[in-house]
Amino acid sequence: MATAEVATHHDDLHHHDEGFVKKYLWSTDHKMICFQYMITGIAMALIGGFFAYAFRMQLAFPGMEVPLWGVVTPADYNALVTNHGTIMIFWVAMPVLIAAFGNYLIPLMIGCDDMVFPKINRLSYQIFLLSALVLLSSFFVEGGAFGGAWTAYPPLSSTAKYSLTPLGSTIWVIAVALEFIAFLLGGINFITTAMNSRAPGMKLYDVPIVVWFIVIASILFMASVGPLIAGAIMLLFDQNLGTGFFNPDKGGDPVLWQHLFWFFGHPEVYVVLLPAIGITAEIITVFARKKLFAYRTVLNTAIATGVLSFTVWAHHQFVSGIDPRMAHVFSITTLLISVPIAEMIFVYIATLYGGSITLNTPMLWALAFIGEFLIGGVTGIFLGASGADIYFHDTYFVLAHFHYTFFPIAIIATFAGITYWWPKMTGKMMNDTLGKIHFWGTIIPFNFIFIPLFVLGVAGQHRRIYNYEHFPDLAVDWMYDLRVMATVALLVMIAFQVVFFFNVFISLRNGKKAGNNPWKANTLEWVAPSPPGHGNFEELPTVYRGPYEYSHPDREEDYWPQNEPA
């Protein structure tokens, strides 16, 4: 303990010398870059959440003067839903789950002092920040922000006279392309670091699942994003240089974009899912005091899911005018992906068997991830089956389905990760009671938002409509009641986020000192001081065993750190 404090103290001095800019803005330290990504991601989540608030208010109470926004016009509505989707996926889920957790965890969990390319890492964040600013700037240009949905189907997205947002659509494409560049740079770093910088003794099967999953996610991202970047360039040319890649009048084809977009878009789901489910693995094993059930099976299911995810994209396009015979192929591949994912969930459930489960805040979040993600998983079957998708395509059923996957990924798993690694990141404990209040205040409203939306989708409510009064079958009282219920639940959920920020504030101010290993966990990050200084470890660790040796019969203690000699 004493040595740890000395080390921290020493590092504080060291950092102080660097100056504010060098330490917080121009840092090459992977932990600082994690915080940069995390804080930017959370700021973007607040913006994306605010957009959701504005358009949900309009849906529940059409035509009202929404506080802090004003009347939501059709153009506003389209811009809000488009940018809500874009922000939550590209500027929240990606930076927080892959970039922030990847940056923080990979070097610490494999026992090295930093990323192999620290300057590329810094560049990655800077480009990411630039991309976020570019995206937000589109709200202030003439014509307003792009409103053609986050999928940006041309000719709407490629033709100013159809979209009426000549600058907004171009800025949107540029922002997305910049964001991809940022993550390509980050991904190169993650893969290289995990493959080359592992602590002595750490074999591939000793690597914690979350590191494996972030690496697999980075590979999936790098392998799938190429076609979309090509598509984005073609879209830029169509918008600004008069080419006709997606314009049928000039021999192009609008459906081509849909293929390029979804060839990336579907693996993207697994790109963000894998880090989330990896975080869950770390937390469940620690708080159940259990070895992960069938480590290699978990790894294989992730690889199988990743490979299969490249073969399913056209299930987003069953009714989009592709050759109807293709639907059979994509139905089969899509349903097959349920096998590895179901198996992964089974493994997690099996891990609980025989455990000694502590239900503290991080564990509640981790368990909630499994319980809620299961709903997202099973409702996907309805959409992957081509026959059923004819009806469900582009209804609120789809919307509710993917929010039951993305909300657990981007929000639940993120809170699981933050509350679990908070003591390491800051050296302070969070208040568990406040954590639980925040947890229940988020999870309960979440279900009250999206279960009504499933029902509305089943009743035929289609998406991206700013006011349902133009559709008599959808303008009935009971449907408005459900819309109001979802909106009120959203307001409650947003209100409860204050508890989280309050908890963060009092933890930083008065939180109990955490010590190096408050959860009695095995993985290497808990060997480092809390918070780790520049260079992470006082002495670089050597690894003797896998990461999940909890409650081993040969040991008195119920954990067995990876670095402890036998």
């Binding site: 509505y77 009714v319 000694s356 079957i381 089943v458």
Partner: protein, 236 residues
Amino acid sequence: MIEQFIPAGSTYAGNIDGQIDLIFVLVGFWFILSEAIFFGLIFRFRKKQGQPAEYITGEEKSQKRWITVPHFLVLVCDVFIIWGAINVWYHVKQELPPAQETVRIIGQQWTWTFVHPGPDKQLGTADDIAKVNELHLKVDTTYHFKLEARDVVHSFSVPVFRLKQDAIPGRVITGWFEPTLTGEFDIQCAEMCGIGHGLMGAKLSVESAAEHAAWVASESPLELAAANMPQLAVEE
């Protein structure tokens, strides 16, 4: 399940509803089973004093079968669902039963134009009845539709028929439906198509044979005059 919320108004609506019900039962079974075991384990193995966790690697065959057996059962369920999906899809989207009548459907920002064949039951003739945001159909009649888009991608969606088909600029997409239920229903545009997307609804009227004949007659009061219309148009 779907019929409780919205009536089934075409010959194939029942097939799609049946497919959804099949999935609902199979998936519902797995969902309830998994959640029950999940919550059961959390409750049963919550931390108790003096009861340490067990050390289970999950690598032995006797342990692994707890996940491999369910995994094969999931695969079996998938086969049933795929089989159903292919059958329904084939019937709705690939098969094209002979048409008794054909309508032309044109999506453009932000209206639907429906060209009905008129008294001679032929499209592309002078007596065609073009209506904006109104589609009139005769019940129990097999229709082909020719779907076009003038500007951006739209999606022709008729929830009571359980039908949805995107309209793509530069293409004419052919499909079919046979209404079975008279009444007035919503037609939606189900693909984001710009600022007016939220206004792009149309009214579907499915009429009995007599009503439909009366509507056709009312839209073309003088068949003869209609037949002469092209010449009139040229003279003007």
